[in-house]
Subunit: 125 residues, 2 copies
Amino acid sequence: MVKLSFDKMGGLLPAVVQDYETREVLMLGFMNEQAWHLTLKTGRVTFFSRSRKELWIKGNTSGRHQIVKEIRIDCDDDAVLLLVEQVGGAACHTGHRSCFHKEVHNGSIRILDSPVFDPKEVYGK
Amino acid sequence: MVKLSFDKMGGLLPAVVQDYETREVLMLGFMNEQAWHLTLKTGRVTFFSRSRKELWIKGNTSGRHQIVKEIRIDCDDDAVLLLVEQVGGAACHTGHRSCFHKEVHNGSIRILDSPVFDPKEVYGK
């Protein structure tokens, strides 16, 4: 029986998504208990959107789903790590492979790679 | 100039720590603005402990510091990814290399590896 601590952050806990093969960290989202159970049940990563305040099946708009390969939880049962197959090769709404594509270097930001897709074509904005 | 969004979670944001060489995700902690600036300034990972409500220089008790090699921030500037050299070979207070050492498998938990150190010897409890 897997029991997570959703109480430390008002019903949410952070979920880190990592590419199953390359081990690249793709993004971080938040899950409520329903999102967690849906992720387990469907095998596709589901978050709870803090801005929209609703369940967010990753990839439902872009087609870039995240297929769960392994699930790990941390020592305190208050964070989740999901190893996934990233459909379409990119997790970020900017078109970049990873949401963590901005490197802090000598006090400023440099962008690490080029977008894999054009957000305007995918999201229409 | 690097500006992060600390306002979405009452002054805190999640920070994922990943091993610089193996790309293993070691842990997830939270930073307030002071912890973030100290991490940048000292090159050692510093969190804000939600339970103790104080700055937490990772490794100050155990000697297992995390030396920052690369810093990345995400598309929304509300999450941080730190690639580190993990001093002493383990990040978790249980003695395991990673805090994410519990795998969810067929609805139950299995422990992925053996502890690298004995917590009783390090923390005296």
